[in-house]
Symmetry: C2
Subunit: 467 residues, 2 copies
C-alpha cells in the first residue's frame, strides 16, 4: 500500500545550502497535466500547407501532447471539392465543402484559415472571433490589406490571432520580433521574403539567364505560379512588409502607401555590371524608422557582396533586423513549402492551445497595444545611393551632358563605367551616385530620358550600403 | 452628453459580407488595460548585464507599458558593494548588499538573477520559487550543471523560469526552438556560441597571429577575461550546449558526459592549412540526435568555407538548427554585451509579466513536459572526417608508415599534403580522412605518436561536412 502510494509522488525537491524552505511533496497528477484536455481544430483549405498541417496533426498528435501538454484533435476540414484525390487521408465524416460547417461547429475551438484571398476569408475569420474561437492564418494579403479590421475583431472578442506562417514560412521571425525584441526599438530591417524572386535572381546571376528564361525555368520547377504577377511584381513581398512593419514599429500601416517595384526590369547585364562593382541584386523589403515617419519599400536593390543577405540564395528567405539594444540579428531559413509553413502554423496553434489549457482564455496582445497610425514617407523623399544604367548613342559629349544634368540636380557621381556596346547601336553607361534625393534623381532622369541621345528608359536601382 | 459618452467606445466592429453577427459595442477601458497593474522586479547582480537591465527599466518603462501592457517597477537591487561607483543610478533606498532582502521582499514578484556562479545562485532561485516568485536568469553554468533541481523547483511551485539570456545574448534562439519549432523534431544543430573564442580564431585567421598573441589582444580589448579558461577551454560553450540540447531534444542532459575540447592547441599553421583545403576553423557546439542517443560535443571544427557558419566573424554568435519539418534555420547576432543580453533578460521579464497580468499566474511549461533522460554517446563512437597534422622527421618512409598504421585501423585517406618544414627539424604532414570512427583514429594516433619519427603530438581536428 505504502509503496503504491509513493508512486503518485514525483519526488522531493532537494533544497541545498542556505535555503530555509522545507522539502515539499507534490502529487504527480497536479504537475503533469497527464490527461490534457482535447482542443478541437477546424481547417479551411486543404492545399499544400493545409495538407502539411493535417499530416502533422495525424503523425504527431501524441508527441505534441507529451512535449507541450496539449492534445489537438482535428474536428472539421473544409475543401473546395469533396471528390478530389488528396495527398493526405481525411476521414469522410469530418470533410465538408461548406466553410460555415467548420466555423459554426461548437467543437472547433481554433480555426486555421489557409484558403487565402481577402474575401470571404475576412468574413470567416471575423465570424470565428465573434463565436469566441481563436484563429491561425497564413493569409498575408488579408492582414496587409484589411488587417486593421481583423486585428480589431480579435481584440474586441478577446481572442488570439496567430499569423507566424504569413511571413517567411518556417522562420520564426514574427515571434522573434514580438517577443524576443519586446523591450527593444527596432530601427530598421531588410528582408528577402519572396522565394520565387530570389530563385529567379539567383539563377539569373549564376547562369547568366534573362528574366523571362529564368522565370519559365522557375515555373517548370514549381517555384513560380502560372500567373507570377503577385510574386515578380513585388506585391507578395509588400504584403509581408506590411505585417513585419506592424510588429517591428508598432505601426498601423496603410498598405497602399508602400512603394512597390518588382524584378521584371532587371536584366542579365545589370546583374553582371553590379557584380563587377562588388554588388549582388536582390529583391528586398526595407523598413526604416525615420524621424518624420516610416520608410517602407519593396524594390530590387544592389547589396554589397559581403552583406549577410547577399549569400541568401535560391528559394531561401532571410530577414536582417536591427534593434537599438540588441544590435544586428539575422534570421535565415525556408520561406515556403509544405512542411516549413505547416510547422509555423502549428507553432501558433500549440501556443494558443497551451494558453487555453492553462486557463488564459483571453486575448493576449500578440501585437502589443493598438499600434498608432504612422506616416509612410513618399518615395520622392528617399535619400539613397543609386545605380543608373543609361543606354545612349556612342558619340562624344553624351556622357558630359548626362553628368551636367545630374550635377544640375544636386546629384554627385561616385563612379562612371562605360560598357561594351556588344554591337548594339546604343552603349550602356553605368553610373553609381553618392547619396541623393530620389525626387532629384527622378527629375534628372526625366530630362535625360527625353534626350534624343538616350535610346531606352534609364535603369534605376537603389543601393543599400553595408549594415 | 451623447457625444461625450461615445468617446468611451472604441468603435464598432465592421462586419461585412456573410457574417451574421450583429455589430458589437465594446467599452474602451475593457480592452485597453489602460491602467496596467504594477509588477515588482528584484535584481541580484549589478554588473554589465544588470546595469543594462536597470537602464532599460529606467528609460523604457513607459514605452514597454504602452506596447506590451505591463508596468514594470524596480523594487530592489542587490550589489556586492554599496559604495562602488556605477554606470547607472539606482536610488539608495532600493539598494542592498543582502540577497535575502531582494528575495524576501513581498513587493518583488519577478526575481532577476545576474550574479552568476552555481552557489549560492541556486539557493536564491529555489528560495524565490518557494516564495512563489518567478525567476529570470542568464546563469548557464547553473542551468547546465544543476538544471534538474532548478527546473524541478519551478515546476513544483508552478512558477516560470526565463533563461533566454543564458545562450547567445541578443539572439532569441531558445524562444525560436521552444515555440517556433514546437511541432518539429530537431535532428541536429551547430552553433558558434562563445564570442571570445570566435574573436580569437577570427583574428588568428585574418592576421596570422598565434593563439597566445590573439588571446592577449582579446584581453586588451575586453573580449576575454584575465582568466580566460572558461571561454577558451570550451566550458562556457558546453554550458550553452547543455541548455540548447534540453530544449531542442527534450532531453535531460548529464553535463559531465558532454565532450569538451577548447581552442588552445589550434596553431596559426593549422588555420593556414585548413584555408588552403577550403575550410575555416571554428569552435562549435554540436548536438545530433542519433538512433542510439545524443551526440553532444564542443571542439574546434573544420567547416567548409561556404558553410553559413563560416562567415560568422569576431564576437558574433550564430546557431544553425535543422528541424525535420522546418528544414534549415540560421540565427545570427550579438552573443554578448550589455544591451543585447539585457534585451534578452527583458524579453523574458515582459513575457512572464504579461502572463501574470492576464491572470495566468501558473507555471507555463516553458520547456515542455519533463524531458526524459537520454544517453549521451561516448566520443569514441563518433564517426567523422578528420584533419590530422603530423610533425615528423623529414626522411623517406615516414609517410608510408603513417599511411600503413591508418590503414591497419580502418581509416581511409582522402588526401595527403606535405608542407614546407620552414627550416624546422620536423616537417608537417596534413592528412584529411574519409569518415572514420574516433576510437580507431585514437588507436592509430597513439601508435603514430609513440614512434621515434614523430616529433610532437599529432593535431586532430574534426571536420563537419556541409549542411
Amino acid at each position: 500500500m505504502a509503496k503504491l502510494g509513493l508512486r503518485r509522488y514525483l519526488g522531493v525537491v532537494e533544497i541545498a545550502g542556505s535555503n530555509p524552505v522545507a522539502p515539499i511533496l507534490i502529487k504527480k497528477e497536479k504537475m503533469n497535466h497527464s490527461e490534457p484536455k482535447e482542443i478541437g481544430i477546424g481547417l479551411i483549405g486543404l492545399g499544400t500547407v493545409g495538407s502539411g498541417v493535417v499530416k502533422t496533426l495525424q503523425a504527431r498528435a501524441s508527441s505534441i501532447a507529451r512535449e507541450t501538454g496539449v492534445k489537438l484533435v482535428l474536428r472539421r476540414v473544409c475543401v473546395r471539392s469533396l471528390n478530389k484525390k488528396r495527398a493526405v487521408k481525411v476521414p469522410k465524416n469530418i470533410l465538408t465543402a461548406r466553410p460555415e460547417t467548420v466555423i459554426d461547429d461548437p467543437q472547433v475551438e481554433i480555426l486555421i484559415e489557409l484558403a487565402g484571398g481577402i474575401h470571404p476569408a475576412k468574413e470567416w475569420i471575423e465570424k470565428a472571433f465573434a463565436l469566441k474561437k481563436h484563429v491561425v492564418t497564413a493569409n498575408k494579403a488579408l492582414l496587409a490589406e484589411k488587417g486593421k479590421s481583423v486585428y480589431l475583431a480579435a481584440r474586441v472578442h478577446r481572442r488570439r490571432l496567430g499569423f507566424e506562417a504569413s511571413v517567411c514560412g518556417g522562420i520564426p521571425i514574427l515571434r522573434a520580433i514580438r517577443e524576443g525584441l519586446a523591450s527593444d526599438n527596432v530601427t530598421h530591417f531588410l528582408g528577402i521574403v519572396n522565394g520565387t524572386c530570389n530563385y529567379i535572381l539567383t539563377e539569373m546571376s549564376q547562369k547568366g539567364l534573362s528574366f523571362s528564361k529564368s522565370l519559365s525555368e522557375a515555373q517548370q520547377k514549381g517555384y513560380a505560379e502560372a500567373n507570377p504577377a503577385l510574386d515578380v511584381d513585388g506585391v507578395d513581398s509588400a504584403h509581408k512588409l506590411a505585417v513585419l512593419s506592424r510588429l517591428a514599429f508598432q505601426a498601423e500601416v496603410d498598405f497602399k502607401k508602400i512603394y512597390v517595384e518588382g524584378i521584371r526590369r532587371i536584366t542579365a547585364a545589370d546583374i553582371v555590371y553590379a557584380k563587377e562593382l562588388g554588388y549582388v541584386i536582390k529583391l528586398l523589403v526595407i523598413g526604416k524608422k525615420k524621424e518624420k515617419g516610416l520608410e517602407l519599400r519593396v524594390h530590387p536593390t544592389l547589396l554589397p557582396l559581403d552583406h549577410p543577405l547577399s549569400s541568401v540564395r535560391g528559394v531561401y528567405n532571410a530577414v536582417y533586423v536591427h534593434g537599438d539594444h540588441t544590435g544586428d540579428l539575422l534570421f535565415y531559413g525556408r520561406g515556403a513549402g509544405m512542411m516549413p509553413t505547416a510547422s509555423a502554423v502549428m507553432s501558433d496553434v500549440i501556443e494558443i492551445a497551451q494558453d487555453m489549457t492553462k486557463g488564459l482564455d483571453a486575448m493576449r496582445s500578440s501585437w502589443g497595444n493598438e499600434p498608432s497610425a504612422m506616416k509612410i514617407l513618399p518615395i520622392g523623399d528617399l535619400v539613397s545611393k543609386y545605380y543608373l544604367r543609361f543606354q545612349v548613342k556612342d558619340k562624344p559629349g553624351v556622357l558630359g551632358s548626362i553628368a551636367k544634368i545630374l550635377g544640375d540636380n544636386k546629384i554627385s557621381i561616385l563612379s562612371v563605367h562605360q560598357k561594351d556596346s556588344l554591337g548594339s547601336r546604343s552603349v550602356p553607361v553605368v553610373i553609381l551616385t553618392y547619396e541623393a534625393k530620389e525626387s532629384d534623381i527622378r527629375r534628372a532622369l526625366q530630362k535625360i530620358d527625353s534626350s534624343p541621345d538616350t535610346q531606352e528608359k534609364t535603369q534605376l536601382i537603389r543601393v543599400e550600403a553595408l549594415i
